[in-house]
């Protein structure tokens, strides 16, 4: 007996013990925050303070919400949250609140600690349905607990420049120790492993739990273009270093790469990869490309002008008709023009024919094989049928 579709459906229902009513249910999925504009902000975002024994301090915070009726919960998180209290526990639609910080006499663990001051939207689970969206924003109070004795950290930053221009350094020294430090910072300039110059800062005292920002300029009049490394150092009984690399540029655009193979026939694209060694932008960079046969110019074309950002590497391209070329290798003269300067390279470019004939032969072979296969299968069935009859 042929089993109908109904049999399978009934069997399926029976198997999964489904009731008709269960198959039909209304499922409303609404992802709705219930508010017109789901935004929440808190300021100030960051406060940084130095630890003092038994410090009592108050900080004012401001909250703004996209919904004037939104209930907001205020909270503190982190290992020092117990030392924080608020003048209120919740807000409606935004407003201000006061954070009172009451630190203990001593904190053993030195370093930078974060106290999170957060505001979170309250969600009324009884309202609406589906998936609600809630935002929490958290500001941070960074508490710097000093290290015992002497301890300092430094950071060094530098700008790139063109050879002959000044390079500006910024050195930040943070004294995270309990003692004041008498320092004589220096910056050493290296080219690869070779020290070229040393810059000296004035001697100065950096008080405990303070930071200072120093600046210094390097005159690069006698420097060659290239990459350099600056290493800043302070010595307070322990040597602390910070490193920053910088580049000195020159008005030069290098030709890095180009299209090595071109198909013969029709309009073809020729790409050139170029890189700027200049610390400023260069406008209207273009290439003039000529293909040569011995010393005779077969064809030449210009690429559209391009603007280069400082140190930028990019591709430029031009188009030409390769119909009159024969298969083989040709010399190509690529000259870049920019800001009154030029860069030049003579390269080899291969012109090749498209493999259209090869593809045609391949298709014919495949077709032949398919036909042969069909013929053999039919033949096999005939033979087999004859054998079985016997």
């Amino acid at each position: 007996m042929k089993k109908t579709g109904n049999f399978w459906l009934l069997n399926f229902r029976k198997k999964f013990k489904m009731k008709k009513e269960v198959l039909v249910f209304i499922f409303v999925i609404v992802l709705c925050s219930g508010i017109v504009n789901a935004s929440l902000g808190i300021s100030p975002a960051k406060i940084e303070i130095n630890f003092q024994p038994s410090l009592k301090q108050e900080y004012s915070y401001s909250v703004n919400s996209g919904n004037p009726e939104q209930k907001l919960e205020i909270y503190a998180k982190g290992e020092f949250a117990d030392y924080v209290s608020f003048d209120k526990e919740e807000l409606i639609g935004g407003g201000g609140f006061i954070v009172s910080l009451n630190l203990p006499k001593n904190i053993e663990k030195p370093g930078k600690h974060a106290i999170i001051i957060g505001v979170k939207e309250k969600v009324d689970e009884e309202l609406g349905g589906g998936i609600g969206v809630s935002i929490a924003v958290q500001a941070v109070i960074y508490l710097n607990v000093p290290y015992p004795g002497r301890y300092a950290e430094i950071t060094l930053t530098s700008d790139n420049a063109n050879a002959g221009e000044s390079v500006n350094f910024k050195l930040e020294i943070i004294n995270n120790g309990k003692e004041d430090l008498d320092l004589s910072p220096i910056i050493e300039i290296f080219s690869d492993e070779t020290k070229i110059e040393t810059l000296y800062f004035n001697d100065r005292i950096v008080k405990s739990q303070t930071k200072i920002k120093l600046k210094k300029s390097l005159d690069t009049l006698n420097y060659n273009p290239g990459e350099y490394t600056a290493i800043a150092m302070i010595d307070y009984g322990k040597i602390v270093k910070a490193e920053s690399k910088f580049k000195l540029g020159e008005l030069f655009v290098n030709i890095l790469n180009y299209s090595e193979k071109i198909f013969i026939g029709g309009i073809q694209k020729f790409e050139i990869q170029i890189e700027s060694s200049w610390n400023n932008g260069i406008n209207d960079v273009y290439a003039n490309v000529s293909f040569l046969n011995d010393s005779k110019i077969l064809t030449s074309f210009k690429t559209p002008p391009a603007n280069l950002e400082p140190w930028q590497k990019t591709n430029i391209q031009g188009f030409f008709d390769s119909s009159n070329f024969e298969k083989g290798s040709y010399k190509s003269d690529i000259t870049l023009y920019y800001s009154g300067e030029t860069s030049n390279k003579i390269v080899d470019v291969k012109f090749i024919k498209k493999n259209s004939k090869r593809i045609l032969v391949l298709v014919l072979i495949v077709l032949f094989l398919i036909l042969l296969l069909i013929f053999l299968i039919k033949r096999y069935h005939k033979i087999l049928g004859g054998f079985l009859k016997k």
């Binding site: 209304i26 992802l31 508010i35 957060g118 609600g132 924003v137």
Partner: protein
């Protein structure tokens, strides 16, 4: 005559007041010789603020049901094709949720759902996943502890996963998209189902 006299008096007084005002003004800004008589200092403090906004904060699929004879239906906001609803008759939705950093500091962003699939949808083999992706070609999320652009189970327990660190505030790199995929089995929980996704942004 009296009216003319009154008018004249008022005019004279007005001119005197104007002259006095001008004198005070000139005195305050110093002599007009090209040399500053004093140094003025303009102080301006711009406060840093953490502020994030769900620019798209709702996804509506309307009402529907699992197609008769099917074991489950799938609803997927990341699927732009006609198959973003399979085995069900809900209204398709391809918008997703979009969260944007509209403050002026970078933030570290975490997400947490209130429930896992079993508690939210119920039934046999339900699924509740989200897919976090950059909405900007230049990449809003420089670093993430989750695989961006892929669906994975929502995080409803334990520490929230860091989705972006940082999520920048520059307009070109300040937003992410959250897509939701639900698998609703034929024997799912019925009635009003509720969950809350909490996005937490912390100043970095």
């Amino acid at each position: 005559m009296k009216k003319v006299n009154l008018f004249l008096i008022i005019t004279v007084v007005a001119v005197l007041v104007a002259f006095l005002n001008l004198s005070v003004f000139i005195y305050k800004i110093g002599k007009i010789t090209g040399h500053a008589a004093d140094t003025g200092v303009a102080n301006l403090t711009v406060e840093a603020e953490v502020n994030v906004n769900f620019t798209t904060d709702s996804i509506e699929w309307g009402s529907g049901k699992v197609t008769a004879g099917q074991t489950s239906a799938t609803l997927n906001t990341a699927d732009n094709s006609a198959t973003n609803i399979t085995n069900g008759n809900w209204t398709g939705n391809t918008a997703g949720l979009v969260l944007r950093n509209i403050g002026n500091v970078n933030v570290s962003l975490t997400l947490q759902a209130g429930k896992a699939a079993a508690a939210f949808v119920g039934g046999t083999s339900p699924d509740y996943e989200w897919n976090i992706s950059d909405t900007n070609l230049s990449g809003s999320c420089k670093e993430s502890n989750v695989a961006l652009g892929e669906f994975f189970d929502v995080n409803s327990t334990g520490p929230s996963a860091i989705i972006c660190n940082p999520l920048g505030f520059d307009n070109a790199i300040d937003s992410i998209r959250i897509d939701i995929k639900l698998v609703i089995p034929y024997d799912s929980t019925t009635g009003v189902l509720t969950d809350t996704i909490t996005a937490t942004a912390t100043a970095v």
